[in-house]
């Protein structure tokens, strides 16, 4: 009897230990990421471009230069200059009369100078070594139409955020219709037999293939054979295949949950099968389909291996869907590059916080939808 008690308590101890271990690991991971990443998160991190970008612009004076009491105020351009911690001169404030809003770059295109942009040259005079007061004097003394060297600061994740959103949208546009229609076919039309078995076998296999293999395939077919280059379209097409099993199986679950009587009454009233699917089945399966899409978004946000081989690793906002301008690093890829190539753990963890926040929001949303849906069905 005693040995049984001993055994029981050992086993129970192991059970408690395991559960505690799981939660402990999660806490450590999140703690590590927050500890390293929180200091790096600020407004600039969320709103700036990744790379610094230097542009030369031409502006006209808006007023005759006159002396001002305010430190760093350039009356001829109606702007205020300051020095940052590294000693770089930057524009801290742009007045309402300023001509910097309507500056043009060297190609004659309008370029809106923003506050926080760094200013390092006027015409051919270098400002970086000058004090604020001397720089103000230098600008006021220059000719009416002057050339400024403007550097927009980097260090933000905007390009990766935008790329991630583009890839999410593109992948869903491709994968969601195919996945949902497949699920409807499998659940509403298909007759048991060889074809159905083949489709199910294919879907089960797709779900098990690791993403690096998808990456290989996508690189061979989309990037090289179709000549898309490392681009968001190549990435999205590859991801679409990865998403199919998730979308199909989640949608099918929702379709299976619709009572058979719905279909029978609709058909009995003389509706065709298409009408039944469109007016009865689809609306009832909508919450399930939404959950499928949210799960897919989560998968896309977390995906990395396949995207690295198809969408590339350049931190830029893609301006096309194929070709050189379309290469795009998502948040996960950038995180990897920072960690592995540059050893910048702090910034990597800041990105990880953004990713975690996204994942948590997605998790909660899908839960809320599921709960509402279940309540409506009265289960």
């Amino acid at each position: 009897m005693n040995s049984r008690k001993l055994k029981d308590s050992i086993l129970q101890g192991l059970i408690y230990f395991s559960a505690a271990f799981t939660i402990f690991i999660l806490t450590v991971i999140i703690g590590f990421i927050l500890y390293k990443g929180v200091p790096g998160i600020n407004l600039h991190f969320l709103t700036r471009q990744w790379e610094e970008k230097t542009t030369f612009v031409r502006v006209d004076k808006v007023a005759e230069p006159k002396d001002s009491d305010k430190e760093g105020y350039v009356s001829s351009l109606d702007i205020t200059l300051k020095k940052d911690k590294e000693g770089n001169l930057y524009i801290s404030k742009i007045g309402s009369d300023s001509s910097l809003d309507s500056a043009v770059d060297m190609l004659g295109q309008s370029f809106k100078v923003k506050s926080d942009d760094k200013l390092s040259k006027v015409d051919s005079n270098d400002l970086s070594e000058l004090s604020v007061a001397d720089a103000v004097k230098m600008i006021n003394q220059s000719q009416d139409n002057m050339r400024l060297k403007i550097t927009r600061p980097g260090g933000g994740i905007v390009p990766m955020l935008v790329s991630t959103i583009y890839i999410i949208l593109l992948s869903l546009v491709i994968a969601a219709p195919i996945g949902i229609l497949s699920a409807i076919y499998l659940n509403e039309y298909a007759k048991p037999g060889k074809i159905l078995n083949a489709i199910r076998f294919a879907i089960q296999n797709l779900a098990g293939i690791p993403s690096i293999i998808y990456g290989l395939f996508g690189m061979l077919i989309f990037v090289q054979y179709f000549g898309m280059g490392y681009s968001i379209l190549a990435g999205a097409l590859t991801l679409s295949i990865i998403l199919l099993p998730t979308i199909i199986s989640t949608t099918e679950e929702a379709l299976k949950a619709i009572p058979q009587t719905y279909r029978e009454s609709s058909l009995g009233l003389g509706a065709t099968k298409l009408q039944t699917n469109y007016k009865i089945i689809l609306p009832n399966a909508l919450p399930g389909i939404l959950v499928a899409i949210i799960l897919s978004i989560g998968r896309i946000v977390g995906e990395s291996a396949a995207l690295m081989l198809t969408a590339g690793t350049v931190a830029q906002i893609p301006t096309a869907i194929t070709g050189n301008e379309a290469g795009a690093a998502t948040l996960t890829i950038k995180l990897y590059m920072l960690m592995k190539e540059e050893g910048d753990i702090a910034t990597a963890c800041s990105i990880a916080i953004i990713l975690l926040a996204l994942i948590i929001v997605l998790n909660i949303t899908s839960k809320v939808i599921t709960r509402r849906f279940l309540k409506k069905q009265g289960i």
Partner: protein, 309 residues
């Protein structure tokens, strides 16, 4: 069911006027649905065909590389035309076995905790935690591995670096936990209550009931969770790439040695490889694929057997 609907359709078309356009539209729509469903089949076939086509190329024709040298070689040096993947296969298998040995018991017991023991208030903490663990992107696990586990190992390791088989096993263990836990929990919950009642009624304690009646009844589900875990561990790329060390040769002799699993070999060099080198990476992909196929088919067999029951 389908026959009934057909009959209904026929009847209605007899009573109403036959509506050819409607029938044609129905047929077209069904075909579109069917084609969408075939996309999955076509994708699987295309993936297999193209990856194999590229991966088999270096072993046939003139100037072919010996397949035996490829599969048994322990050095990967593209600059000197040396492509051996045996040490990568060993690394992949060892890392997976290690992760399964540690991860499955912990995962299963956590599932037992959630499904059988924990009061609802605790379940409400542990379960979302597990779901979050499942949703964390693999690069974050990699960052955690590189930022926490590798330095820790570095402190106790006899080798000069922390990147090692042990680090890979640790991270893979964590990564397969959510898979094991959620699937095992689902199967444990599916065990009928009468099993528990019968066992308790015979005088068994609660713990005995769990380990002698409930877990054996959930065997096949736990098995498929394990197989899924194997699939995830063997296919994991990004996290492993950051912490494995990726040497150019040598079979790992201890858990402190650097390793280079199959997946990381592909991901590391694919972006700049060309010609023979690229084909060899595809060949590595074929080996990986072979492993995954074994895992997949095992899984499908287990689940269909459980379905028959």
């Amino acid at each position: 069911m389908t026959n009934n609907i057909k009959e209904e359709n026929n009847n209605s078309s007899i009573m109403m006027k036959p509506n050819k356009t409607r029938d044609i539209i129905e047929k077209i729509v069904e075909t579109i649905f069917f084609l969408c469903a075939m996309v999955s089949v076509v994708s699987v076939i295309a993936i297999i065909v193209f990856v194999f086509y590229k991966g088999v190329a270096p072993f046939v024709g003139n100037n072919a590389y010996s397949f035996f040298d490829f599969i048994s070689g322990v050095k990967w040096d593209p600059n000197h035309n040396e492509y051996g993947v045996f040490y990568m296969i060993v690394a992949s298998i060892l890392a997976t076995i290690g992760a399964i040995i540690i991860g499955v018991p912990i995962g299963l017991l956590t599932a037992v905790f959630i499904a059988e023991i924990a009061p609802k208030s605790l379940v409400n903490i542990v379960k979302p935690g597990v779901e979050l663990l499942a949703g964390i992107p693999s690069v974050i696990y990699g960052a955690f591995g590189l930022g926490v586990i590798v330095p820790l190992i570095n402190k106790i390791s006899p080798e000069p670096q922390g990147q090692s088989l042990l680090a890979v096993i640790c991270v893979l263990t964590i990564m397969i936990l959510p898979t094991i836990i959620s699937l095992s929990e689902a199967t444990l919950k599916a065990v009928p209550n009468s099993y528990r009642e019968a066992s308790l009624g015979l005088g068994a304690s609660k713990t005995q009931t769990i380990f002698r009646a409930v877990i054996p009844a959930a065997k096949s589900g736990i098995l498929s969770a394990t197989v899924l875990g194997i699939g995830r561990a063997i296919g994991e790329t990004m996290a492993v790439m950051m912490i494995a060390g990726n040497p150019i040769g040598g079979i790992p002799m201890s858990i402190w040695d650097k390793v280079r699993p199959l997946t990381t070999n592909i991901a590391m060099e694919m972006s700049y490889a060309s010609g023979r080198h690229q084909e060899m990476l595809f060949a590595t992909g074929v080996i990986l694929f072979a492993f995954i196929m074994i895992v997949n088919i095992t899984l499908i067999k287990i689940t269909s057997k459980a379905g028959e029951k």
